[in-house]
Symmetry: C2
Subunit: 506 residues, 2 copies
């Protein structure tokens, strides 16, 4: 079994070029470094400072590369990666320059669904300098002030649609917006005291609520609501998504560009994994064989009531083309006056209503499962971008119904003992379209048990096996999987993040 898995993988995957082969085409760094990182929220990125420890040599231009730089693809490798017929599975090269945290990664292009692979990925270690250290004059080093920055590990999967632009931009910039949001919290997060309710108006964060409240202790009422350090990190990630989306709005409107992406992001900070999801990618933890869901998908079906409520409260967003009511199928003009099943924004059940003229409009939400759509246009309801997305043959914008806000779930790594086979799996929908959580857990068990716990390649091998098992065999065979199920025709990207075992937390 061990050999079968390994040889199957060996024939069908590509781990970049041989070590060094990409050196002419690629920077020495595994990190894509943005040319224009954000320095202040809501303002266009400026400056060229790098926030990543891993980014040794910065590149100003990403050239024509459209795959994650950590794959270190040569031009030949890139051509192979973009081959829809072969659908070679790509992973980072098996050299000493592995991804941080022993992370495994693999990806494959779709079966001709779009020209390019519209998924993107990012894996970084990001250093956050505190505001005080940053603002200290030249004579004041970090050590002088007794303050230290913070590091966070970061993984991001971005599933693009209507082009790869939004996913590519998010993979370059979102972690920098997160860094920017965390910058004001560096001292607060390292202080065991509860976060101060109010801070002085300048950008210096004070860790003492006594000194930060301007009007003496009288005004410093005890907090009415408990605000935890954890909830500050959650708030920082939520706001970073919003700022990233506003950044895209400026870029897309200027260029009249379309396109958007789902974003599934993990931040490891001070012992906790923050899993932030906006879209239909999915994260699960496999711990001791048990499945722990770490995200929920946001689709027209799961967000039906939010979307319907918005259409109900703001009917101008529906134009004269859509109705916020849901029907099991489109109502026909000849059914005027008949009683047809419907539900509105406040219902989870169904009832009959007499069909009136305005019920003949197209329903805001239609279809089911993978075919469900908002405004007959898009099948995911959260993500970044899509600022110019219009309803087909209409000027009606879709964006008001989409949310850029992620749902953040927190997993405290320090609360559990983890073994080397415990992993956090992140996958774009290409993986989950043809695999249940249980299927993935079976593959995790099968692959990891065939490798030594200390084998550094085991997590990449697992990522490859997951992608390979979902992608189907070949176009000629109708992308069938070995067990005769249909394979995924979508792009597939997978991160495998080990939760335990020696050297994991590096």
């Amino acid at each position: 079994m061990l050999n079968r898995v390994r040889s199957a993988v060996a024939h069908l995957v590509s781990s970049g070029g041989p070590p060094g082969s990409g050196s002419k085409d690629l920077p020495a760094t595994a990190s894509p470094v943005p040319t224009a990182p954000p320095t202040a929220p809501r303002s266009p990125p400026a400056g060229a400072e790098s926030g990543s420890r891993a980014s040794g040599g910065a590149v100003e231009s990403r050239g024509s590369f459209s795959r994650p730089t950590f794959l270190q693809l040569s031009p030949g490798g890139l051509r192979r990666a973009e081959d829809h017929a072969g659908r070679v599975v790509q992973s980072p090269p098996d050299t000493s320059r592995r991804l941080p945290w022993r992370t495994g990664y693999a990806e494959v292009i779709n079966a001709g669904k779009s020209r390019h692979n519209e998924d993107q990925a990012c894996c970084e270690v990001v250093y956050v300098e505190g505001r005080q250290a940053r603002m200290g004059g030249p004579g004041k080093s970090i050590t002088d002030q007794g303050q230290q920055g913070l590091c966070f590990h970061y993984w991001g999967l971005f599933d693009g649609h209507a082009g790869a632009g939004a996913a590519e931009m998010a993979s370059r910039l979102l972690h920098r917006y997160i860094r920017e949001q965390l910058r004001g919290l560096v001292e607060i997060l390292q202080d065991p005291a509860p976060p101060p309710l109010c801070l002085p108006s300048d950008t210096k964060a004070s860790v003492s609520s006594e000194s930060s409240c301007p009007s003496g202790s009288q005004s410093c009422w005890p907090l009415q609501k408990e605000v935890t350090h954890e909830s500050l990190v959650v708030g920082a990630i939520e706001n970073a998504f919003q700022f990233m989306d506003e950044h895209m709005a400026r870029e897309q409107r200027g260029q009249h560009a379309v396109g958007g992406c789902c974003a599934l992001v993990v931040v490891y900070l001070l012992g906790k994994m923050y899993v932030a999801n906006a879209g239909d990618s999915r994260a699960i933890i496999i711990r001791n064989g048990d499945i722990i869901p770490m995200s929920r998908e946001f689709t027209p079906e799961t967000e039906r009531q939010r979307l319907q409520l918005l259409g109900f409260l703001k009917p101008e967003l529906l134009g004269s083309e859509f109705t916020h009511l849901q029907f099991p199928r489109r109502v026909q003009p000849k059914e005027l006056g008949q009683r047809v099943l419907y539900r509105d924004q406040s219902m989870t059940g169904w009832a009959y209503k007499k069909i009136e003229l305005e019920d003949l409009r197209f329903p805001l939400i239609c279809g089911e499962g993978k075919k469900a759509r908002v405004m007959a246009t898009i099948g995911v309801t959260r993500g970044l971008g899509d600022h110019n997305l219009k309803v087909c043959s209409s000027t009606l914008p879709v964006k008001p119904f989409l949310s850029c806000f992620p749902e953040v779930q927190v997993y405290d790594l320090t609360q559990y003992e983890h073994c080397p086979d415990d992993v956090l799996i992140l996958g774009t929908d290409g993986l989950w379209d043809v695999n249940s959580d249980k299927d993935v857990a079976v593959t995790v068990d099968k692959v990891l048990s065939s490798y030594e716990p200390n084998d550094p390649s085991r997590y990449t091998a697992l990522a490859q096996a997951l992608v390979l098992g979902a992608r189907g065999i070949s176009r000629e065979q109708g992308w069938r999987l070995p067990n005769n199920k249909m394979g995924s025709v979508d792009d597939i990207s997978v991160f495998v993040i080990p939760l335990g075992g020696p050297g994991s937390y590096t």
Copy 2:
């Protein structure tokens, strides 16, 4: 133990008068019969037809009684029930005329918090006549048409505020609105085929989708979405709540009356329990000692994001007095320009924001736990009534932020084997303020194990024990419970519905 529980109960509870003692003051029936049942949705109730099997002799006037008629209280009993000092626990008399389904019930008035007990309750068996049977001419009996009506069991707890009027009205009418909504579904629910998508425009329900679609089979596309019989019952209950609320709107606006109520309702129909909750009452099932939550509470805290989103999308509802942002406490004018913790409608975490002038408005949601309020006015966010409720010293209406829609959870009784000690407990917040689910489960076990499985009084004894254990000992002792915890100062009403055992489903 058995004796201790029994004698404690015997001293402190009152089960109405002795059998027959209430006959002069009370109707022979245990059912409150509305004088004006609804016959058509959205129109004022008319006619005097009774939909209840248990309502043998209708009463036109309820006189001054403000407690459920099934308690059969004499004037003396009523006076005792309204005594805030003694706080006698009330239950239906221990006679052969028990509540349907061997249901146990007990209640107690509050500790002087309001003049009257503002809780109300209803327990009924309701017969639903199909529309076809109802519309058949005098020569057509139900049997002639081969159609039968449906019966549902019904339990309702209504926790009133700002007066007992809304709770009293809901206890009289809500089950009739449910009956009205189910009437059009009688034939459909009894047909194993999936519900037809469309029905003819007259009020006859047809069970055949062939015959009901007006334009031949061509127009009868297969259902795009699966609509189950269960979801039709859920939709019927949801709409019944809305019609009940609209009924109150007409009544309250005409009389310039205030007041509202939370509603927790159970409908047993065709093998399933539908538990519908709008407010902060709670339902749990105890099955084999395990706790199964059957409702969620709707408060400013649990509904924060819905309320904030509404304030954000419709700022005119906030006037110039409120902000939709949440702060851990009220922001002070002297904090203008400082950075203070906040969260908006899209966040679950917290972040700092610079305080501007409009942040000094009162937050839409303030306080925590039992003290949380919407618009500084009300602590529950779903329920019936409150149509004239205004913000204190303002003309701003609160009602737009309140929802009359229940969340309905379904429990399939046929899926499990139940023993006589398995029960569904319904309680107003007075019970849960001082008891966790686990506390209640302990009492369930303690009391039921001290009675024979066939003892008809065991479920009423359990309801009494639950109320007694929550109400505290006496005013002099500060309403302390025996274990030195504070007792509830609120009205408490409890239904105990057995899920198994001989003769339960009657």
